[in-house]
Symmetry: C2
Subunit: 509 residues, 2 copies
C-alpha cells in the first residue's frame, strides 16, 4: 500500500465514522423469487426454514408487508427505485420479447448510492437481477444471470456463498460501507423450461443421478402425503406434490441464506449490517403470483438490525409496502429521499417503536403486465379492513403466464374444467378468468376474497372513499393508466397545469 | 490533405466503383408523418403537392403499398429493421411513458450499413427519429428531436434544407456513398400539445402574427368550403376545416421535399441517388391511423431511380409492404439480407419490370400498441381481394389515442354520440369501438370495409385459408402473440423444437 492509498483509506474511514452514527454501516438485502409465507416464522407447519426463522428471531418480522406489484421485474424495479411500476416504467418482465425497461429519467438505488456518497458506498448484486437497462441499475459488483446460467448464480448456494465472500472481501479491502443484494432464484418454477430437474428445479444439484451436486446443500425431502394444503389451492394430491417440491426448493433458499449470513459473520460484518429478507411476489399458484389478491401480494419480510437498541424477536403489524425498501436503505445510509406523501417511506423508525394502527393505514398496488401479451392492468388499495381492485381490462379473460400454465396445479384445474369434472377448489376457472371491473373485499372477514361487495348498496360509501383514495394515489404517482378504461388522460396543451380524464362515452353506447 | 488522406480517398473511390455497378450510389428516404394519399399524383383534387408529383413522374408510383403497422415508432422500426413490430420489439411508441425499444438483438439499417461496408457508407438522419435505443439506431449524422425542438427540426423546412446541405457536403468531402433519411414531422397533428399553432401546426412558421416565419415556406391557404370529404370521414364543416389545415401542412412537407431534392441536385447527387418517399402510417382520422383498415395502412410510395434504364413516370400495382424498404436499401448498396420467405424483400427488381399479379399476393400487418395504455393488438393479412383482421383483445373497446381524442373530428363524433345527434358518417362510434374477433372484408367490392364476411357461410373456406396464412406468417416471424387470445404459446422445455398453442379452455366455460 502506498502512502497515498493509506491516506485515502484513513480519510474514507473518517467519512464513514462521521456519516454513520449508529451501528449500521452496511445493508444486505436477501430476495427470494416467488416465495410467499412458506416458513416456520410465519407458522407454516411443514416448510423447514431454520435459517430464516433464526433471522426472524434476530429481527422484526412483518405481518403486513405487501408488494405493490406481483411480477418479478416490476417488483425488483419497485425495490430499487421506490416507485410504483407505472411510475418507473418497468410495466412487465425485462427479459426476452417482453423487453420492459425503466424510463430514461429513473434513478435506482445502486446509482443513487454511488452518486450521493461520492463512490463511498460499494454496491453489489449476486444472483438474479432481471431489471434494466444495465446503465439504470449499475452495481459496482455484478454476478448475475447476465454472465452466468441462472441456476448456477441463483440456485447454486455454494456459488452464491463464494461470490458473497469475494464481494465482502472487496468491501473490507476498500474499507467501504456496502449495499449487497442477493437475488435467489429459488423457489421459482422451472418446469416449463427444464422439467428434467423437477417442477421447481428441486432436484437440480441434489446429488441424485444426473442432477449434479451443490456442495453446500443438504436437500430436505418432504413426503407429500403429510402436507396440508393452504385454503386457496385445490385439495388434491397433485397440489400436495407441488408443495413438496416447492418446500424442497425453499430449503435450498433457506440454507443459502444461512451461508450468506455466515460469510457476513466470518468477515466481521455481522455486527454492523442491516439485514432484510423479502420476496418479489407471491408463489406461482392460482390467485397468487400475477394477481393482486392476498396470496399474490402478501410478502415475507424480516428487518434485522445489528443495533442492540433496536427491536429483536418481535413482530410488527405495521402496514408496509415493498416500495418502502428503497427509502429504508437510503435511510440506513443516512441519505435522504424525496418525501412526498405517496413516496417510499423508511421503515427504520419501526425498529424502535411499534406505531399505533390507524384506520386509514393503506398500501397500494399497481400491476400492468407480466409477459408482454398479458395485458391485464390492475390497480389496488388495501387498508387494514378492505381491499379495492380496479381491473382496467375487465372485458378480457384474466391471462395465464407460460410458466404457470404448464404447472401440474393449473393443468389439473384446466382439465377438470374442460372435462366438467369436480375439483375441490374454492373457486371455478370461469370466475378466475372473468372478473368485474371493481372488486371490493372485506379482508378481515373474508381473507379468501370470495365475496365481492362492490355492488352491495351498504358498501357504497366505502367504495366511494376507496376509489377516491386510489385515484389520488394514481394521480400523484403519474399513472399513465389514470383514466383507463373509460376515459382518456389529457395532460398537455391546455390541460398541462390541470390534467383531466375526458370521457370516451362508453356509458352512452 | 496529406498524402495518406489522398491515398485513402482514392482507395475509397476504387472500392465504391467496384462495389456499385449501376448508377445508384446513394439512397435518400423521405418520410412523412401521418400522411396518406393526399397528393396530386394519387388524384387528390385539392391538396397541392407539386414537388411530390414531380418526384412521382421521375419514378415509380406504387398503388398497393402498405405499412405493416399503423403507429409512428413501430412503423419507423419496421423501415429500419425489415421486421414486423412483433419481431423487432418496437410494439408501440418510443417516447415518454410508452418507452418501447427494439429487442437487444435487433440490427438496424444504419448499423448494418456501417458494419457491412466497413464504414464506407455514411448514414444520416434529419428530423423525427422516434425509435430506440440510441445504440440500436446509430446514424453517423443525427439532427433529430433528441437535440432540437421537434417543430424546428421536423417542420422548419429551412432548417431541414440547411442540415441536408451540411450532410451532403460531408458525404462529398469524405467521398462516401450515403444513406440519408429525412423524417418530416408534417402533416402530424399538434392540437393537443400546441393548439395555438392550429390543429396541424399549420400556422406555425407561416409569418402570421405570433407564428414566426420559416423563410423557405410559401404557405398555401385552402378555403375549406371548396373541399370534398373522403368517403370514410363524416361529411361536416368541422371535417372540411380539418382537411384544409392538414392540406396546408402537407404543402409545407411538399415544399420541404422540393428543397431537399434541390440540395441533392446542387451538390451533384441527383444523378446517382435513389429517392424514396413514403409515410409511417395513415392520417390521424377515424378508421385510419392506429387501425389496420385501408386508410390506416395504405401508404404513399414513390421509388425514383436515377438510372435511365429504370422505369420512370409509371405506376405499379405490385403489392408491397413498408417492411420491404429495408431490403431495398441494402440491395441498392449491393448488400444482401437474409432471404427467408417472409422477410423484407427488395423492390429494386420492380424498377425494371412490372410483375404479373398473382392470386396469392399478400401483405401482412401487425399492430400491438400505440400508447402504452392502448392494448389492442391486431394481426392482418391483405390479399388483392380480401383482408382478414384478427382483433386479439376484441373483448375491449377499441382505444383512442390522446392526440386524436382532442381533434375536432373525433370530438364531433363523440359529442354527436353522447347527445344522440345524427352525424353523416358511414359508421357509428359504437361499431368503431366494438369489434368482433375476426373481420373479413372483400376489399375489391367493399373498400370501406363495411360488410364483415367472417360469419358468412359462403366465405368459410376463404376465412380458413387466410387464417392459416396469417398464422404461418406469425409463426415464421416469431410473434409473441401467436396463440393469443385463447391459447398460451409454449416454446421452451419439451416444446422447444415444436412450439405449440395450448388452449386456455375459454370455449368450455
Amino acid at each position: 500500500m502506498t502512502m497515498l492509498q493509506i491516506v485515502r483509506v484513513l480519510v474514507a474511514s473518517l467519512i464513514i465514522a462521521s456519516a454513520v452514527g449508529d451501528e449500521i454501516k452496511n445493508v444486505l438485502l436477501l430476495l427470494a423469487d416467488d416465495a410467499g409465507l412458506e416458513m416456520g416464522a410465519y407458522l407454516n407447519k411443514f416448510s423447514q426454514t431454520s435459517n430464516l426463522d433464526a433471522l426472524a428471531r434476530r429481527g422484526l418480522l412483518f405481518n403486513n408487508a405487501f408488494t405493490s406489484v406481483s411480477s418479478c421485474s416490476p417488483s425488483r424495479a419497485q425495490l430499487l427505485t421506490g416507485q410504483a411500476s407505472h411510475s418507473n416504467g418497468m410495466y412487465g418482465l425485462h427479459h426476452s420479447v417482453h423487453n420492459f425497461n425503466v424510463l430514461p429519467s429513473i434513478q435506482s438505488l445502486p446509482n443513487v448510492l454511488r452518486e450521493n456518497s461520492n463512490g463511498r458506498i460499494l454496491s453489489g448484486i449476486i444472483g438474479k437481477k432481471h431489471v434494466g437497462t444495465a446503465d439504470h441499475f449499475r452495481f459496482d459488483f455484478e454476478e448475475t444471470e447476465e454472465r452466468h446460467p441462472i441456476n448456477q448464480i441463483g440456485r447454486n448456494i455454494t456459488n452464491i456463498k463464494l461470490y458473497t465472500r469475494e464481494f465482502l472481501r472487496q468491501a473490507k479491502a476498500q474499507a467501504k460501507p456496502f449495499f449487497l443484494m442477493i437475488g435467489f432464484h429459488d423457489p421459482h418454477r422451472c418446469g416449463h423450461i427444464t422439467p428434467q430437474y423437477g417442477e421447481f428445479c428441486e432436484r437440480w444439484g441434489s446429488g441424485e443421478e444426473g442432477m449434479g451436486t451443490i456442495p453446500d446443500w443438504k436437500p430436505i425431502y418432504y413426503d407429500w402425503r403429510n402436507l396440508d394444503i393452504p385454503a386457496y389451492l385445490p385439495v388434491t394430491d397433485v397440489v400436495r406434490k407441488e408443495l413438496a417440491a416447492q418446500y424442497m426448493t425453499i430449503s435450498r433458499l433457506d440454507q443459502g441464506v444461512g451461508l450468506v449470513l455466515k460469510e457476513l459473520e466470518t468477515l466481521g460484518f455481522a455486527n454492523n449490517t442491516l439485514v432484510m429478507y423479502t420476496s418479489d411476489n407471491g408463489p406461482p399458484f392460482p390467485a397468487a403470483r400475477t394477481n393482486l389478491y392476498e396470496r399474490g401480494i402478501k410478502s415475507p419480510f424480516i428487518l434485522a438490525s445489528p443495533n442492540a437498541e433496536d427491536r429483536h424477536h418481535e413482530t410488527t403489524g405495521a402496514m408496509v409496502s415493498l416500495l418502502d425498501v428503497y427509502a429504508t436503505i437510503l435511510d440506513a445510509f443516512h441519505l435522504s429521499t424525496n418525501n412526498s406523501a405517496f413516496s417510499s417511506k423508511s421503515l427504520m423508525p419501526l425498529l424502535r417503536k411499534e406505531p399505533r394502527p390507524q384506520d386509514d393505514d393503506a398500501v397500494y398496488g399497481s400491476h400492468s403486465y407480466h409477459e408482454i401479451t398479458m395485458d391485464y392492468p390492475m390497480r389496488m388499495i388495501r387498508t387494514r379492513q378492505y381491499k379495492l381492485i380496479h381491473n382496467l381490462n375487465y372485458w378480457s379473460y384474466f391471462p395465464i403466464d407460460q410458466d404457470f400454465y404448464t404447472s401440474p396445479t393449473f393443468q389439473q384445474i384446466l382439465n377438470a374444467t374442460l372435462h366438467r369434472d369436480n375439483l375441490p377448489w374454492y373457486r371455478s376457472l370461469q370466475s378466475y378468468y372473468e372478473r368485474p371491473e371493481w372488486e371490493l373485499y372485506n379482508i378481515k372477514s373474508d381473507s379468501m376474497e370470495r365475496h365481492n361487495l362492490a355492488e352491495q348498496p351498504e358498501y357504497k360509501n366505502v367504495l366511494k372513499v376507496l376509489k377516491q383514495r386510489l385515484h389520488e394515489w394514481q394521480a400523484s404517482t403519474n399513472d399513465p393508466w389514470l383514466c383507463a378504461p373509460h376515459a382518456v388522460l389529457q395532460a398537455q396543451g391546455i390541460y398541462k397545469e390541470n390534467p383531466v380524464c375526458l370521457t370516451l362515452g362508453h356509458e352512452s353506447l
